[in-house]
């Protein structure tokens, strides 16, 4: 995606849970980076989207995939725009949503 604003993904462990926190825009260009972090994270994952400014259908598909593949998966939806997109596609009702990551 042009312009690719700075994008980064951090991963931290809080007890048994791994918190994956991307920052920037999640789209076709960046979604794989997030996916890689989640894939190796284990069975308890929280996707912290508070620093995410934009998410497109590729990002939604990732969330959907994770909700299926990871037994204990939750999302911190973050900004209103992101939260709205989850509601738009019905993910808000299907994937556990947290206000904040554990201990964070």
């Amino acid at each position: 995606m042009d312009p690719a604003p700075e994008f980064s993904v951090t991963r931290r462990r809080v007890g048994a849970t791994v918190v994956v926190a991307p920052a920037g825009e999640i789209d076709l260009a960046t979604v794989d980076a997030v996916k890689r972090e989640i894939e190796g994270a284990g069975e308890h994952v929280v996707l912290d989207l508070r620093e995410v400014t934009f998410i497109d259908s590729a990002g939604l598909r990732l969330v959907l995939e994770c909700s299926r593949a990871v037994p204990d998966f939750a999302v911190v939806p973050g900004p209103r725009e992101v939260r709205r997109v989850f509601d738009l596609v019905g993910l808000g009702e299907r994937v556990p949503m947290l206000d904040a990551p554990p201990d964070g």
Partner: protein
């Protein structure tokens, strides 16, 4: 000098004879033996000098004159006769003494020369020994002090000082310590004679006040300086000083002869052997060096060349090479700078060095005019300064870097070719660029032919001489090449060098064609297949003409590699073209050919596919009639490419089929949801679906994970419809419809997130801008046009995602 003692004794003896004979003559009355006095000067003359003899002779004559008294015969004829005999005898004795002394001097000189020659003949004598023996020979016989200076390695060296007399050691020490002067002072070695050394002479030669004191202390009366010569060159100076005698011009002449003998003796003693052996070793080293080395003199003439140099320039031997004038050597080659501009003799570093410049190494491409062979040479030159400071010789080291350079050029050429081939997928244009790239680096003329119908046709042609492009093209058009056909058929390259008159005559019957070949100046031809996978798909023809260049194995390899790369590129371009065609066809299949005519409604659509043409997008829209009204939809399948295209097709056709058959939007959505959910892979899809009542007075809006459609009423837009789950994610999904009562002039705009996700200078296009862009519009066409305008104005950079808009308005 023993001669002096002998001379004095002889003089005394002569005088004694006079007195004795005069006494006898006076005492012996009966006999007049006066004439016998004449014996006295002869006695003296045997050993004494002419002067001493003359003195004795004078005494004898006086005694003869006086004899008239005691012999009492004054005035008689007898007296006079006897006196004449004495005078004549005396004169003769003086003359004899003179000749004898000269003979003796000559004899002494001869002995000196013989001595010098003997020294010279002793080939096993070392230099110090030679110096000692020369000193012994000359001092004190010919000089009181003898100094030998030689030139060695550009310096003047004081080789020996031999003195005589009581102050010998002091003089020798002083002269050894005294600087022998510089080469410029010593050479040219002009013979010099100072018959009488005076104060002014000393001053002129003195280096300072102390020196003049020293020179005075030598008591020098006369001196000679002559060159020491050997094998035709001056190797030093022989200085001879006399304190008691004066040298004469004949001494100078003799000294010159001596200088020759002593010089030879020193030379034979190996004075220069060491130097020369060093020189010989250097020469041997240069001779056996793999690098070509040449040495030029000030006028640019070659004075030295090793065998490697001779070979480099195509000569049998270094001698033959050296015997050839530089211009003639230069004329054997067509020489160029690296950039292809012709090289003049004056551009060579050796010439620059002789002009006092410091040239960097020069890379030269030389084509042998006789053989057409191309060589790359790195030429470096350094100056060997003369003793005066300016350049005297230029040493050139010539490295044949042909292999390195060719490899480098081939690499660079192939890299550039690859870049050019990759730069465009329009392959005919690409091939034209490849042909241009090959000229003039690889060939003077390059053409690329592809099979067209039943024969090969040139699709690209480049010639180093633009005026010959048409000629070359015409030739290729007119005379199809069986060789090229064969290369294509057999997928094997072909190289023909040395195309000459004879070869043309043997191969070509058609005189007109022969003439054309001549006018094109063909010299060598390479034909290489353009290969893709296992087969040849075309032929690249590389021709050498004007440059006279002969193709080598390395050239053929480069050309073949070019053929491989070009072949792959052409095949890729073909595939790309094919794929683009398929994509376009597929894309069209995802969208309705044309929107249906619906009474009371106006429909308009916009489809902006993302960047590349060959990637089928995931956006779709459709509008069709159902048993219960009209169904309009816009959908989006995540992803792009073949997979997305297949899904998109499935999504659109499932919705269309279910909708047309069942007339129930929910059933249609469920149908697609089930179909997608059954797939092994997660394949979500979002859809906005509007079901318009047959009377077009109301519409039911459903969103399956899709952005809400916008209702534009009285120039203001607002979203309508409830959020519902996307399709393919969950099997148990259900959707809620929002019923919208439609009024005349109302418009409903369905769009995909490609619209709101469009990136501009100020972030994403977003919902707000979309709503604003629809401000004041009325009618479907106007709404679509407004969005298109707004997106075009907003968008920055290439479009990242497909964009689809479908609008309806109530007329």
């Amino acid at each position: 000098m023993s001669g002096r003692v002998g001379g004095a004794a002889a003089t005394v003896a002569g005088l004694a004879v006079i007195f004795a004979l005069s006494y006898l003559d006076a005492a012996w009355d009966s006999q007049n033996i006066m004439a016998t006095i004449v014996m006295a000067p002869f006695v003296t003359a045997m050993r004494a000098s002419a002067r001493q003899t003359a003195a004795v002779a004078l005494f004898a004559v006086v005694a003869g004159v006086l004899s008239g008294g005691y012999n009492a015969n004054y005035g008689t004829s007898d007296y006079f006769v006897r006196l004449v005999v004495v005078i004549a005898g005396a004169a003769f004795a003086v003359a004899a003494a003179h000749s004898r002394r000269r003979l003796a001097a000559d004899q002494a000189r001869f002995e000196l020369l013989r001595g010098a020659a003997q020294i010279a003949d002793r080939r096993d004598a070392a230099v110090p020994e030679v110096v000692d023996r020369v000193g012994e020979l000359l001092v004190p016989a010919f000089a009181d002090v003898c100094v030998i200076d030689v030139l060695r390695g550009g310096k003047v060296e004081r080789l020996g000082v031999v003195a005589s007399g009581p102050r010998r050691e002091q003089i020798e020490h002083g002269l050894r310590a005294r600087s022998p002067g510089t080469e410029a002072e010593v050479l040219p070695a002009v013979p010099l004679l100072a018959e009488r050394v005076d104060e002014s002479h000393l001053r002129a030669n003195a280096r300072d006040d102390a020196d003049i004191e020293f020179l005075r202390s030598l008591g020098e009366r006369s001196h000679i300086r002559v060159p020491l010569r050997s094998r035709g060159r001056a190797i030093g100076i022989l200085s001879l000083l006399a304190t008691t005698r004066s040298y004469r011009p004949e001494d100078l002449q003799f000294a010159q002869l001596l200088g020759g003998r002593v010089g030879l003796a020193l030379d034979n003693a190996g004075l220069f052997a060491e130097l020369e052996s060093l020189q010989a070793r250097l020469t041997t080293a240069l001779d056996t060096l793999a690098e070509a080395v040449t040495i030029q003199d000030e006028r640019g003439r070659l004075v030295y060349a090793n065998d490697a140099a001779a070979q480099t320039f195509g000569f049998e031997s270094a001698e033959a090479f050296l015997a050839t004038p530089p211009q003639e050597i230069a004329d054997r080659f067509a020489s160029f700078h690296e950039d292809g501009t012709p090289l003049a003799l004056e551009d060579l570093p050796g010439r620059a060095v002789l002009r006092d410049e410091h040239p960097p190494p020069l890379l030269v491409r030389a084509v042998d005019r006789r053989t057409g062979e191309e060589r790359w040479r790195m030429v470096k030159a350094t100056a060997v300064p003369s003793r005066a400071g300016g350049p005297r010789l230029a040493v050139n080291v010539i490295d044949d870097v042909t292999d390195v350079k060719r490899a480098e050029l081939a690499q660079r050429f192939l890299a550039e070719a690859t870049a050019v081939l990759a730069s465009s997928l329009d392959y005919e244009q690409t091939l034209a660029k490849v042909a241009e790239l090959a000229v003039p680096r690889l060939a003077d003329w390059c053409s690329v032919s592809l099979p067209r119908g039943d024969r090969l046709r040139a699709v690209a042609l480049a010639h180093s001489d633009p005026e010959k492009v048409a000629l070359a093209r015409g030739y290729q058009e007119r005379y199809p090449s069986p060789a090229a056909e064969q290369v294509l058929r057999e997928n094997a390259p072909r190289l023909v060098n040395d195309i000459d008159e004879e070869a043309i005559a043997a191969a070509i019957d058609d005189p007109e064609r022969r003439e054309q070949i001549r006018s094109l100046g063909l010299r060598s031809v390479m034909l290489v297949p353009m290969v893709s996978g296992p087969r040849a798909i075309g032929v690249i023809t590389l021709v050498s003409a004007e440059s006279g260049r002969r193709f080598g194995q390395a050239d053929l390899e480069s050309a073949q590699e070019l053929g491989r790369r070009a072949g792959t590129a052409v095949e890729n371009a073909r595939l790309y073209e094919e794929r683009s065609h398929i994509a376009a066809t597929l894309q069209r299949s995802l969208l309705p050919d044309e929107l249906p005519q619906i009474p009371g409604l106006e429909l308009a659509s916009l489809y902006r596919p993302a960047g590349e043409q060959n990637l089928v997008g995931g956006d779709f829209y459709d509008a069709f009639e159902t048993p219960t009204g009209w169904m309009l939809l816009v959908g989006d399948v995540t992803g792009r490419g073949a997979e997305a295209a297949a899904l998109t097709g499935q999504a659109r056709h499932t919705l269309r089929t279910a909708g047309m058959l069942l007339g129930d939007p929910d059933a249609a959505l469920r149908q697609l949801n089930q179909a997608l959910a059954q797939r092994a892979e997660l394949t979500p899809c979002t859809v906005a679906l509007v079901h318009v009542a047959p009377d077009a007075r109301s519409a039911a809006v459903r969103c399956a994970g899709h952005p809400q459609p916008l209702l534009v009423r009285d120039g203001e837009a607002r979203p309508v419809g409830h959020f519902g789950p996307m399709l393919g994610a969950w099997r148990d999904s259900a959707w809620r419809a929002e019923e919208v009562a439609l009024r005349a002039g109302d418009a409903l705009v369905l769009y995909t997130d490609g619209v709101t996700d469009t990136v501009g200078h100020d972030g994403r296009f977003g919902d707000e801008r979309l709503l604003r862009s629809l401000h004041g519009v009325s009618g479907a066409s106007e709404a679509v046009a407004a969005i298109d305008r707004a997106l075009t104005a907003f968008q920055r950079g290439p479009q990242a995602d497909d964009t689809a808009v479908l609008a309806l308005s109530v007329t």
